[in-house]
């Protein structure tokens, strides 16, 4: 019962909190995260959305719509290039829902699903940026300098935040 639960307000608040935390974390730890050889990008929004799918059970939350809203804000406020994350975030939600149909979600399978999701988010935004000449980074240096460290950071985030976020979702239901 999505309409009657605290989730109706709790989910969007959490979503925007995570969205702004992404930027703040990047700013506060910019020396460590944006060094020359390895760039780590935090994707707490994606974590919040994926956890939404994992802990949804039979609650039918409008995750794709909220993912698109988060994408709009991300595009306009952070990057200034409209039309990338608006489509990437809902795609991630859709894909995760497809996978969850076949694999029952728990901590370890969630980790694997999140691995796939982060790879897709990064790869799609890289391809889009290359297409509109926002970057001249080569594919190989993207894999080594960006995707690898980003996956490491985000999987660590998943491990740390999985149980706290599950507690939050259970409280909101």
């Amino acid at each position: 019962m999505y309409r009657l639960s605290k989730m109706r307000f709790g989910f969007p608040i959490g979503l925007f909190l995570m969205l702004f935390l992404d930027g703040s974390i990047s700013q506060v730890f910019s020396v460590q995260m944006f060094s020359a050889s390895s760039v780590m990008i935090s994707h707490l929004v994606v974590l919040w959305l994926v956890c939404g799918v994992l802990f949804e059970e039979n609650m039918a939350m409008p995750l794709a719509k909220w993912a698109a809203v988060a994408g709009v804000v991300f595009d306009l406020y952070y990057t200034g290039i409209f039309g990338v994350y608006v489509f990437v975030f809902p795609l991630v939600v859709y894909l995760t829902r497809q996978i969850v149909k076949y694999i029952s979600p728990n901590f370890l399978s969630g980790l694997l699903i999140y691995f796939i999701d982060i790879t897709i988010v990064e790869a799609m935004s890289f391809i889009a940026s290359r297409a509109v000449h926002m970057t001249s980074m080569s594919g190989s240096s993207f894999l080594v300098n960006t995707l690898g460290p980003t996956l490491a950071l985000n999987l660590a985030m998943f491990v740390v935040l999985y149980f706290p976020i599950r507690a939050v979702y259970n409280w909101l239901k």
Binding site: F16, L17, F20, L21, D22, G23, S24, I25, S26, Q27, V28, S30, V31, F34, S35, A36, S37, V39, I41, S42, H43, V73, L76, Y77, Y78, T79, G80, I81, F82, G83, V84, V86, F87, E122, S125, F126, A128, S129, A131, V132, H133, M134, T135, S136, M137, F142, N145, T146, T150
Partner: protein
Amino acid sequence: MQKFSFNRRLVIIIVCLIVSFALMTVSVAIRNKKSTPPLIQQFGNDIVGLTDRVVALPANGLRGSVSSISELLNTYQENQQLKKQVSELAQTKVRDQTLAKENKQLKTQIKLNDSLTDYTAISAAVITRTPSSWQNQVVINKGSSAGVVKNMPVMSGSGLVGRVSEVNKTNAKVELITDNNDSANRFAVTVSTKSGKTVNGVLSGYKAATGQITMDNLTTKAKISKGDKVITSGLGGVTPKGLYVGTVAKSAGSDYGLSTKLYITPATDLSDLNIVTVAVTKQ
């Protein structure tokens, strides 16, 4: 029935792709041509920027307190070194003031109002940073209502760090010179060599592996040596003359061997920005 649903999904995917690329192309075009984004985007960004401060201010405050504790540890050593520098600095400052005064008097004598070196400064705090690997952007808390205009140069500490790429009412985006896209770091600069010659040129890119700015296509015969200072030349309008960019780290032949390529060490740490200064030229 199965075939129909597959086709529909394919159509949706293709439509999404086309719409996505159309939107991206349009927003890149707007970003390159217009001085401000469309009104709706500006309005949205202002609202988001204001809400972001709820999260960003505590985070930045926390960071400030943590870094002040870690800085306390090497304060003693730093103090010793700085004491030596202060006595020299006072002398330079007095001389600087005298020269500035004289310069002003001379300017009024020949009725020269504003030259290329004149600018006023708007200082702003960095709210947040774009979580992206290729867009090295920060959002600052001053916008068009404070007088910030697109393409103005932005400084931090002692040197140039980037330029304003998008202006909203209460916040603005700054593209850092570490950004490697086609338009981020094309500043007109000049190198003054030890023999007194000046070499003009344009910054051409950023080498992430070494953290150096590059300056390509120089055909000068003047000998540029390591340690020569690079400043903005003020040519081209928006950037005032005399903003410190960095020092020459290496002078080498370019990739095709026809011209000289310079590697410049930036004057400030470009990954650690808290307070920045926007330079406004009087025009």
